[in-house]
């Protein structure tokens, strides 16, 4: 009797321990360094809320992220994957389908992002849309008094020799695809793109390669408008530079980051809780104040202060509808674009 009692206590204790173990898991997150998930206050708040602790590992390129997933199966519970790579990770069996019923905030994600075909291959959610941003262009508001509505302002004779550009073949081709009214992910008329870019060459003053370049060249008057990234533009504006980010009628190039759960994760429930917290408006509003990309969660975007960049520019549903989200680019196309771009640069000398 006594022995049985002892046994049952032991069994009970084990059950309690196992339950506690399930509740207080340690989840491992794989992400870019300094990209939201590893904010100290956020990790702390999540721990207080759910009892789960969070450990981070980082990657410096998409290829490195895929390599880490391939070589360490089961080592991670949450991974950030750009939507252009989600399909590849799914095909290689690196990530698992996510049961979104445990993610309360999932219903608030803007529909076009939640069901983005790259994140939801075959109708199953492999990536939960988290953040997004745009590659469009920005103007110096002192030099360009009226905000242009068309991307064709880059070809305006008036701005000859006052245009900045990024020396990037893929971006250049996609910009010209927008300007010629094409789908950036399925460029049918590459000759039109080439002709358009050839006409652009004399307009360009110089190439910029970093955010710092962009701000300096703009401030020195080297160019009055140039392609720019939404997050960088927000930072330039916050610095007090006379900059306005423009999303023209033709649209803009969008990128979308999703959170996925790797195959072999031992803490799927905790991982889903973490993803839920990451798309929570409460988390996002605080992150946005420190400089964040746009959120995929419509409710979170609506909760932002009225004057915030992500609300006025990217929170506008009409603007979001114009965005063409970037899909994976085949090696073949990448090579063809580079060749086209180099030839144009060489011939314009």
């Amino acid at each position: 009797m006594k022995r049985e009692f002892g046994l049952s206590i032991a069994a009970g204790l084990t059950a309690v321990l196992v339950a506690a173990g399930a509740q207080a898991a340690e989840i491992r997150v794989l992400n870019w360094n300094g990209y939201g998930t590893d904010l100290e206050w956020a990790v702390k708040a999540f721990e207080e809320k759910t009892g789960n602790s969070v450990v981070h590992d980082y990657f410096n390129s998409e290829q490195e992220m895929l390599t880490k997933l391939r070589t360490n199966p089961g080592a991670y519970d949450v991974v950030l994957i750009n939507s252009a790579f989600t399909g590849q990770a799914e095909k290689e069996g690196l990530i698992q389908a996510i049961d979104t019923s445990g993610i309360a905030n999932f219903a608030d994600i803007a529909p076009n992002m939640a069901t983005n075909p790259d994140l939801v291959p075959g109708g199953e959610v492999y990536g939960v849309a988290w953040t997004w941003g745009l590659t469009s262009f920005a103007i110096n508001t002192d030099a360009v008094p009226t905000t242009p509505t068309s991307i064709n302002v880059f070809w305006d004779e008036q701005y000859k020799g006052k245009i900045g550009w990024r020396d990037d073949a893929l971006e250049s081709v996609q910009f010209a695809a927008l300007a010629t009214g094409q789908d950036i992910n399925d460029i049918k008329d590459l000759d039109a793109v080439k002709a358009k870019l050839a006409a652009l060459m004399p307009q360009i003053k110089t190439f910029w390669s970093s955010e710092n370049d962009w701000n300096q060249f703009m401030a020195a008057g080297d160019f009055v408008m140039a392609p720019y990234w939404s997050g960088s533009a927000a930072r330039s504006i916050a610095k007090g530079l006379p900059v306005e980010f423009v999303v023209p009628d033709e649209g803009a190039i969008g990128w979308l980051d999703g959170l996925s759960i790797p195959t072999g994760s031992k803490n799927v429930d905790a991982a889903r809780a973490f993803i839920n917290y990451m798309i929570d408006p409460e988390f996002y509003v605080r992150w946005e104040a420190e400089g964040a990309p746009a959120t995929a969660n419509a409710k979170a975007a609506a909760a932002l202060p009225d004057d915030s960049f992500n609300r006025t520019v990217l929170g506008n549903a009409e603007i979001v509808a114009r965005v063409q989200f970037m899909q994976p680019v085949s090696e073949e196309n990448r090579k063809a674009y580079l060749e086209l771009w180099q030839e144009l640069k060489a011939n314009s000398q």
Partner: protein, 286 residues
Amino acid sequence: MGATLRQRDNFRAVLLISPAYLWLLVAVFLPLSAMLFFSFLSEGPFGDGARQLVLQNYLEFFEKGFYSKLLWRSLKLGAVVTALCLLIGFPCAYVLAKTIKGRWREALFLLVILPFWSNSLVRIFSWAIVLRGNGVIDATLNKLLPFEVSVNLMFTYSAVVIGLVHSYLPYVILTSYLTLQAIDDSLIDAARSLGAPRRTILLRIILPLSLPGLVAGGVLVFVPVVGSFMEPRILGGRAGTFFGTVIEDQFVAVFNWPLGAALSFTLLAVVLLILAVASPVLKRAQ
């Protein structure tokens, strides 16, 4: 007995020379041959895709007209920069070697070499500040002149030439200085006492005797300038596309190492060809 002595001499010679050759092997030959190998691969040396040995990367140079166009542009840039370096560097070296003596010479020498000790990126970025519109030149001229001028050399071919000439000028000054200093002053004195005018002294005595230094300096400038990519990229803006920048793109932007390596070796071959064609002239100079 004689044979063993000869053998021992040979052995000692090999022993003495071997460190130099070993160094050449490790530091020059091995990396270069690795690159040569890459240049024949169909895929980059990453991942585990199937790779074959192909000539495609070299054919690319001939198939795409813009590569040879850019190479020609780079060669012209090399010629212009070399000519300017010689034109500016030789008089500088002459003044240093023949006119200025003592402390001043040391001080001026320091000024010549000083840029050499600073990082080349720092030098190029300083030029960017000077050449830009509203930059140092522009602002100074507008302060001094009664009328408005606008000097904005930034992002032009001239800016690239200025930056490169400044970077490579010390090579010409140093090599010319060495040969100029070796010229015996009494030769010049003798010519003068025999009534030779300055021009004749320069053309018949000083130039021929200092030609080896000029040639060495010229080659030292021409070869790296033809392959330069950093200066054109920063100072040239849109006008800064050269053969070197295209090679850099292949390595760092698209990771197409095989094509980048093939283009590099094409450049090497062309430069060697130019030096070979010019070698009778260069030899006479020595």
